[in-house]
């Protein structure tokens, strides 16, 4: 028995190192691009490593970047497990942040002990609403969620632009010619505690705790069981008496809520105000999309999403550092990130093959070993819910 589990742990270790190997392979291709740009790849990647892990501050920056990825990723775990493809994380983050910020700039006389939790909850709720709309549209009007979430992202951006240059504009800026589209700054008491002197804030810890809670939700509660059941096989779930439509809505509501929380947390932990440059990613940092990547790197498992977010966050932070040190256009960084995503997602095939081999071996040994519950043997989610 102990021998078995040792082997199993070794297998898991191999599985876990696959994304890292794939990342290295992508960086190897990136090295060719760097050479073409007449940049020394060793120097470049050294800078990347130092930017991501080279100092206390670098590690903190990596974790700051990883926090919204993890939160959005948790939501993605829920929605993809529930069979819905939520690519509206950007919009959900924005709406969560707008509502969360509204709390902080309205209730200025209140105590931080009240305002921060309330704001984060309101952000959570804002994301839930913005995710819930596509949920309802999908469940009851057969509007595909990819379409609606793409559209809702664009709507959220314009809503943000409208509010930040109009009703919610920083009163100080309203008086100036520059009229920067931003809200007032949160007072010091409303900021999440930080690990001084870095920007690492309490939100990182909250996100990790939530990852555990999402794990419990998905695998230890009946709600979670039903969400996953609907995702695995909506028809069977229907016959089993599950109200499929409700769980489709629930999956999107929860998924949006975590993105909304990520948005509010960016305001209360990092930026202390909302600012728009006219685009979604100017505020979100693209976390609404990158969170999907992180979740898939983490094999749609909430706990697995933690290291996956850190890996992807490190990559983003390190690549920016690399840009600064070797002075390549940031466009190269974008292309490189794309390569890493493609390589990592492609490397999944080896994990699945090994898993299948293990399973076959187990069956052959006559132990009838079933995959344990939190092992992902089936292709996750992604089935259309023919409501």
């Amino acid at each position: 028995m102990s021998n078995m589990s040792q082997e199993k742990w070794f297998s898991k270790f191999i599985d876990a190192s696959l994304p890292i190997l794939a990342t290295l392979a992508a960086l190897l291709v990136g090295a060719v691009m760097l050479l073409l740009l007449k940049v020394n790849p060793i120097e470049a990647y050294k800078a990347m490593w130092e930017g991501a892990f080279g100092s206390q501050n670098a590690i903190a920056e990596t974790l700051v970047k990883a926090t919204p990825l993890l939160l959005v990723g948790l939501g993605i775990c829920i929605s993809f497990r529930g069979g819905v493809i939520n690519i509206g994380g950007e919009g959900q983050m924005i709406v969560g942040a707008i509502l969360g910020t509204l709390v902080g700039i309205t209730l200025v006389d209140w105590s931080g002990w009240i305002v921060i939790p309330v704001a984060l909850l309101v952000g959570f709720a804002g994301g839930a609403i913005w995710g819930g709309i596509p949920g309802v549209l999908k469940a009851y009007f057969n509007v595909n969620e990819i379409l609606s979430t793409v559209m809702m992202n664009a709507i959220a951006v314009q809503l943000m632009n409208f509010l930040l240059r109009g009703p919610m504009i920083d009163p100080a800026q309203a008086a100036l010619a520059s009229k920067i589209p931003q809200t007032a700054r949160l007072i010091d008491a409303f900021r999440l505690p930080r690990w001084v002197p870095t920007r690492l804030h309490l939100g990182a810890l909250i996100a990790v705790v939530l990852a555990v809670l999402v794990y419990i939700l998905l695998w230890r509660t009946s709600w979670g069981y039903r969400i996953r059941a609907v995702g695995q096989n909506p028809d069977a779930s229907k016959y089993a008496g599950i109200k499929v439509k409700n769980y489709v809505v629930l999956a999107l509501v929860l998924s949006g809520a975590f993105a909304g929380l990520a948005g509010a947390m960016q305001v209360y932990g990092v930026n202390f105000r909302m600012i728009t440059d006219g685009s979604a990613s100017g505020f979100t940092g693209g976390a609404g999309f990158n969170g999907i990547v992180a979740a898939l790197f983490g094999q749609l498992h909430p706990i697995g999403t933690i290291p996956a977010s850190i890996l992807f966050g490190a990559l983003l932070v390190g690549a920016n550092k690399m840009q600064r040190v070797v002075q390549v256009p940031s466009a190269l960084i974008t292309a490189l990130n794309g390569l890493v995503v493609v390589f990592v997602v492609s490397s999944e095939i080896w994990r699945r093959r090994r898993q299948r081999r293990r399973l076959a071996a187990a069956v052959l040994e006559g132990e009838g070993l079933l995959p344990d519950e939190n092992d992902i043997t089936e292709e996750p989610g992604n089935k259309e819910v023919g409501s």
């Binding site: 440059d277 600064r324 256009p329």
Partner: protein, 649 residues
């Protein structure tokens, strides 16, 4: 196997797509050492010897010293009182060293090594002759040896005045400069000239040609010919070989500005003014000090304030009264210290980092800053004096914050956060790095933090001028505007444009379209199409996505008015005018303040008055004379405050 296939596929894709990709290293020139000429004379008791690289009648550097010595001799009472001997044509440094040593051994009171290339010889020789005074220039360095005087000329000052005059008198808007080697006194003069010209007329084109020689008269003439062919109608030049260039100027009827000595007699019809070096100002002091027993250890500077540099106007050349007045005012300002010409010098390389939201070649906001930094680098003396790095595409606010903090931590002297969305990050970061300067825009808000500069553009001014022209030229009475989001710099420009148009033609219709994006080129294009369909025959727009709208202007034959950067190249037949941002105007002040020990706390505005905004009229667009003069009058009115821009809300 599959791993290999994946890699091979990936690599192939790259090879195909990146095959032609090349890097573009920026490599500004490195300065080299350069020689200078000299001159001399003789007298009785007080004996002076001078060693100089060219002839005493070179009408340039050597002659300026020769003339000075003659003046001194005269003042002191003629040959009886002062003896002058000289060695001219000492361009071989070894020979000069021998001459210097020989004069010292012969017991001359003062030996002048008139050429910066003689310094190291002097450093050897002077300690051996403690009873002899040595003087050399142009430099400030006495090597700490107490029988060496040093002298130099603030030649940029006269250069600046010449530049002001040249820009005022030029009709073609093109000036030509012929210099020897890009260093020392020559570079100082040329840089001053360029600065003066640009300060007077920011759109002026100053073509500079360093021919690499102090003696090649033929090449200097050819360089001048080249300038004339390029449209220059005013020329200047420094060092002895420029006599060739003066002939060319005379032949082609171009104006000439001299320096070092008076060059009026060479071409009395076309020489407007000369900056003349009066080394006698320095020599008088030197002689006084020697008389008082001080053999050296001091360095001197001739400039406009101390009369060591004099602007001599050619009485035969009829300078318009207003131009003469401008020149006098400029001289007074420089003498009074109100105009700082040269770039300040820092002990180490001045390091600048800039963080900006889009690419450096966006033909809009980010590019305007990148271009300015290139100007500043040149102004400060190239990569050896100033280096800058950038992070482009930083539209993610917290990535930008990380970059800003990182640059500050790495010891950059100035970190520029070029985007109004970066302000609150800066507010966090700046207090942690009190000896780093930060600059951000566009806004006026420094948050009251002592190491933050703020800058913004009065973009409504150029918008207003554009609006005036557009309304004057519009036949349909309808204009169209394409903007990104209705706020900030974009809104300011658009409001200015509308105000200018309405002020000119009150019933003009200005349709404004904000497309809600800085990047959606297709929608910008379609917005422009909509304007054209609604009858607009003049279009404008701001931010990087408008490149799509310019194409529509071209296709529909509408006029286009640009802002932020010059967009003329995109539609040469349709662009009427551009408001161009020159952030270098602000950056020069910022650098100067940092040099003076101020890290921030000030906010700057670029506008038409300070030359930070320049109306760039497309010379290929046939702007009717009356509209052109209206536009110029409008610019003038905004500058002198007689036009105030009112936004109708």
């Amino acid at each position: 196997m599959k791993k290999f296939r994946l890699l091979v596929t990936g690599l192939l894709l790259f090879a195909v797509l990146l095959g032609a990709c090349q890097s573009q290293p920026a490599a500004p020139s490195v300065d080299e050492a350069a020689p200078e000429p000299a001159m001399e004379e003789k007298t009785g008791p007080f004996r002076v010897a001078v060693v100089m690289p060219s002839a005493i009648n070179d009408l340039a550097f050597s002659q300026s010293m020769y003339d000075a010595l003659l003046t001194i001799q005269d003042e002191m009472g003629g040959e009886e009182a002062m003896e002058i001997v000289y060695s001219d044509g000492m361009f071989v440094v070894d020979d000069a060293a021998a001459a210097i040593r020989d004069y010292a051994a012969e017991g001359f009171n003062l030996v002048i090594a008139h050429g910066s290339q003689y310094g190291s010889s002097l450093q050897e020789i002077a300690p051996d002759f403690p009873e002899t005074s040595f003087a050399w220039g142009t430099t400030v360095d006495t090597f700490g040896i107490d029988n060496i005087f040093a002298y130099e000329a603030a030649s940029d000052q006269g250069g600046y005045v010449n530049g002001v005059l040249a820009a005022s008198l030029s009709k073609t808007g093109v000036l030509g400069v012929v210099g020897p080697i890009e260093t020392g006194d020559a570079k100082l003069y040329v840089d001053g000239f360029v600065a003066g010209a640009k300060a007077t007329d920011p759109t002026i084109q100053v073509n500079v040609n360093y021919i690499g020689s102090f003696s090649d008269v033929a090449l200097a003439a050819e360089a001048a010919n080249t300038h004339i062919a390029a449209g220059a109608d005013v020329l200047t030049g420094t060092a002895q070989m420029v006599v060739g260039a003066i002939g060319v100027a005379e032949e082609s009827g171009a104006l000439w500005f001299g320096t070092q000595s008076s060059q009026t007699e060479l071409a009395p019809d076309i020489v407007v003014a000369n900056q003349i070096y009066r080394w006698d100002v320095v020599l008088n002091e030197v002689i006084d000090l020697i008389g008082a027993g001080t053999m050296g250890g001091t360095s001197f500077m001739i400039d406009l304030a101390n009369g060591g540099e004099v602007l001599e106007f050619n009485p035969d050349f009829d300078i318009p009264a207003d131009v003469a007045a401008l020149a006098e005012a400029t001289i007074a300002e420089i003498s009074g210290g109100a105009v700082a010409i040269g770039a300040p010098e820092f002990e180490d390389v001045f390091k600048v980092a800039v963080v900006m939201p889009s690419a450096i070649n966006d033909l809009a906001f980010s590019q305007s800053m990148y271009d300015a930094l290139v100007v500043i680098q040149d102004w400060m003396g190239g990569e050896g004096a100033m280096e800058f790095v950038y992070s482009d595409g930083m539209f993610v606010v917290d990535d930008a914050a990380a970059a800003i903090r990182d640059y500050a931590a790495e010891g950059y002297d100035l970190v520029i956060a070029h985007g109004s969305q970066y302000g609150s990050s800066l507010q966090e970061i700046a207090p942690d790095f009190p000896t780093t300067s930060f600059a951000w825009g566009t806004t006026v808000d420094t948050f009251g933090i002592g190491n933050i500069f703020a800058y913004e553009a009065a973009s409504q001014e150029g918008g207003y001028v554009n609006g005036v022209i557009a309304a004057s030229l519009s036949e349909s009475g309808v204009l169209g505007v394409v903007g990104p989001i209705e706020t900030g710099d974009a809104k300011l420009y658009v409001d200015g444009f509308v105000a200018g148009a309405k002020a000119t033609v009150p019933d003009i219709q200005v349709n404004v379209n904000y497309i809600g994006s800085f990047s959606d080129v297709a929608l910008a294009s379609e917005a422009a199409n909509t304007h054209v369909a609604a009858g607009a025959d003049g279009l404008t727009g701001t931010a990087q996505m408008v490149v799509g709208a310019i194409g529509v202007a071209e296709e529909s034959g509408s006029m286009w008015f640009g802002t932020q950067a010059s967009q003329t190249g995109l539609a040469p037949a349709n662009v009427v005018a551009n408001q161009v941002y020159h952030w270098d105007v602000v950056l020069k002040d910022v650098v100067q303040m940092i040099a003076d020990g101020t890290y921030g706390g000030t906010s700057f505005v670029i506008d038409l008055a300070n030359g930070g905004e320049v109306m760039d009229y497309n010379s290929d667009f046939d702007l009717p004379a009356d509209v052109m003069s209206l536009a110029e009058a409008t610019e003038q009115g905004i500058i002198d405050g007689s036009i105030t821009i009112e936004f109708g809300e």
